[in-house]
Assembly symmetry: C2
Homo-oligomer: 307 residues x 2
Amino acid sequence: MTKDSESGFGEALGRRAQQVETLLRQLLHNRPLSGEIDRPERLMAAMRHGVLNGGKRLRPFLLIETAALLAPKQDESAALRAAAALECVHCYSLIHDDLPAMDNDDLRRGQPTVHRAFDEATAILAGDALLTLAFAILADDEMDLPAERRTALILELARASGVGGMVGGQMLDLAGEGTLPGESEIIRTQAMKTGALIRFACEAGAITAGAGQEERERMAEFGSAIGLAFQLADDLLDLTADAATLGKSPGKDAAAGKATLAALHGEEWTRRQLGGLIEQAHALLEPFGDRAGLLRAAASFVATRDN
Amino acid sequence: MTKDSESGFGEALGRRAQQVETLLRQLLHNRPLSGEIDRPERLMAAMRHGVLNGGKRLRPFLLIETAALLAPKQDESAALRAAAALECVHCYSLIHDDLPAMDNDDLRRGQPTVHRAFDEATAILAGDALLTLAFAILADDEMDLPAERRTALILELARASGVGGMVGGQMLDLAGEGTLPGESEIIRTQAMKTGALIRFACEAGAITAGAGQEERERMAEFGSAIGLAFQLADDLLDLTADAATLGKSPGKDAAAGKATLAALHGEEWTRRQLGGLIEQAHALLEPFGDRAGLLRAAASFVATRDN
């Protein structure tokens, strides 16, 4: 990737992040909606703390840009809302993952985690409420899509984030600590814990765009490739980066007794794999030609990021 | 209520509970569905532990019988699935409510709570997975309803169980411990924590049946009345029953410093209120005549139950 396309991508990512941040802020207001009785202030504050934290919003970016690629003339508001719902799920999973009974983290993006800034019960409930809110956003009539596409988004999000996806992956990840899982267990755990939601981001863009089955599967595959690249790059950073670059302590996986593919096969193998995944992701975008420039850049970004 | 109609109701409730239990058991299998990667065994076992526990399945009963009343010729499978989804949400809330950081309960229906039978992390994840599964059930094509009704069910369930409903009520309930909230705070907390989901049960029956706005609102109101009755009866039991009848320790609310309407106004006032709520609920069923016998009996049961 040239410096030029890198900076173009960085700007595009930042612009989308801002749009998503604005919408999330709107959605996380204190005023109860129809069908709601009240929105307790402390709980709303905890939800905002866990969501409005300056994240890169990579998953929303993938969803929105996939939808824009496949239905360039469609109004973007539905894709933005779907992206906000997806981000609520991602952030809820971080809140619960940080809990003392789980990873027991005090800091997230340099800020106190939700259970540190508030308390454990509030963090549990804030996570629950964000997960629930995600489905409310997708089912709401303000989501300007035919009901069939809304139910498709809801079903795929639930499958990707539930027992057969993200939550199941968190479970396998916890079970794997301190033991030495084999390569296939590591791959499965990561495909579930981080891969499923990134795959969903791309597939959801296609669903939002009203794409046919073939394009939907193609974009889901694209999502799987960069989901795996995302994880490998993460493992590599944990293995090689210094704390100053990373912004958090490296070597955390090894300290927690977590096996990773990068640790198993070493740096060189991992970089080779990452190269192959970028190629695979780019090949899947071939049919779209130049119009897929941002998604191509996203694949490269995911695989080569240094923090 | 005569002894005859009581036993008729008890049988009907038990029959529905069995149907719902059977469906829940089917839904909580270990085999991953399309869009799922794997279903980790330990997590599935924890989910089953939290759900298949011999509950009365009152909320499912209300949903199914409301649907049967308003669309007697409609196939019951959609109502059963919606009822199973609702029960997943109810059970997830109990699992999280029992956690050490929340109510810290060791027993639920005479069995170890999920975090006792498994561990805390598994209980958090099992709750998350059940909540997610509820939305997957409602969005699934096996749910034989037009997509518009499915999104309506999903939206109302999310609103009733999220920050503006059940989860918000749990938050207010925790915040209220040890302080002395006023009457209006108690009413709001209970309407959110337990009322919203019982109200949803009845409204969801109407949505499933494809009822018009007027009937939908009527049944939601019916649900609100018996939701409040349910809570008052609960508070009354906590105030007056002995442990043997109750199957759990009475006086728990007072010990936890929780204010209840029953404690505030006494037994006599509470029984009068309960009588009024039964009347109100029965009046809402008036238009349906004899066909509403089971729902009428349900209202009486909720208000007069002794455990």
